[in-house]
């Protein structure tokens, strides 16, 4: 195993924990975006560029958009 892979593994482990640990949804969206990018790195070092590409467009564009739209909708009253 190469150092780059080890580093990516460690980052993903921390990232996953962070996503769960951040209880404020708005901040969590940000952390989720970062976690997605770390996953992209992991997939690249696992020699899976196609999957990394999928993860990139999903976590950089699609996920934040729907999450933010949903949170914006529900911002009042709660």
């Amino acid at each position: 195993m190469i150092p780059l892979q080890l580093m990516a593994l460690a980052l993903v482990a921390l990232g996953g924990l962070a996503v769960v640990a951040v209880r404020d949804p708005l901040r969590q969206v940000l952390v989720l975006g970062l976690y997605g990018l770390v996953l992209v790195v992991l997939f690249v070092v696992f020699q899976a560029p196609d999957v990394a590409f999928s993860e990139l467009v999903a976590s950089a564009v699609a996920f934040p958009f729907i999450l933010l739209a949903a949170l914006a909708k529900m911002r009042d009253r709660k």
């Binding site: 560029p49 564009v61 729907i66 909708k73």
Partner: protein
């Protein structure tokens, strides 16, 4: 059950479950030593039998194209589900106003849209040669359209994606995939059999039905996400 009781119960059982999981995982081949014959055979034969360089694309749209048909329909079903859930008798006359942000944002946004959509189409088109393809490119195309919204041009965004047209594209993307499968039956093959001429490796016209299915997936994904974004946006502007 109190939260405390739940935590204790969960803590105990998840420890056991993870222990079991680890026990199972120790039976895996060491990392990097996997010798699965399925993947090895596909790696060695795809280029000659399918005239396509990207084996992953060949698996997605040919060897296991039937799985992808199902995956595409999951996407389709969830978007239909969102539309069903967020349905509401919306007043068609009342359009949400454009939230004009700074002119700089607007100018940058508008300047970027064209290139993003072109990039998306490029990603869709070259999926079976290089990394990328209908699934990734479709998301890029849809995000280009969303930029219209981000640039404050909600009206332009709506004009670029009228509901009935998006519905049509969405249904057509899903339907085209199934239709290609049925076309193979009509041509005397098995469902989704790659009956089209395979072309020359490395060119856009290679791979037989792979580019067709890839394009159908691209259309489906792009339309699905546009529809999805639209539903969430309308929800946002609704009183």
């Amino acid at each position: 059950m109190s939260r405390r009781a739940r935590l204790i119960l969960f803590g105990g059982s998840v420890t056991i479950l993870v222990a079991l999981l680890v026990w199972g995982l120790t039976g895996l081949p060491a990392f990097g030593e996997f010798q699965g014959q399925y993947g090895r055979i596909l790696n060695s034969t795809t280029q000659s039998s399918r005239h396509v360089g990207n084996v992953v694309a060949a698996v997605v749209f040919d060897y296991r194209g039937f799985d992808t048909l199902g995956e595409e329909l999951i996407l389709f079903a969830s978007v239909m589900g969102v539309a069903l859930l967020l349905r509401e008798v919306r007043d068609e006359g009342e359009r949400p106003r454009d939230e004009v942000r700074s002119d700089v944002v607007r100018a940058v946004g508008l300047a970027v849209i064209g290139p993003v959509v072109v990039l998306g189409l490029f990603v869709v088109a070259h999926g079976y040669l290089t990394p990328g393809g209908g699934f990734q490119g479709g998301v890029v195309v849809a995000s280009g359209l969303v930029l219209l919204y981000a640039a404050g041009e909600y009206r332009a965004y709506r004009a670029a994606s009228p509901s009935s047209l998006v519905d049509l594209a969405e249904g057509a993307g899903a339907g085209a995939y199934v239709a290609v499968g049925i076309a193979a039956l009509l041509a005397g093959g098995l469902f989704l059999e790659n009956v089209v001429a395979l072309g020359t490796t490395g060119t856009l016209a290679s791979g037989g039905t792979i580019p067709i299915l890839n394009a159908a997936a691209g259309l489906e994904v792009a339309a699905a996400l546009v529809l999805l974004f639209q539903e969430f946006l309308e929800e946002l502007f609704e009183e």
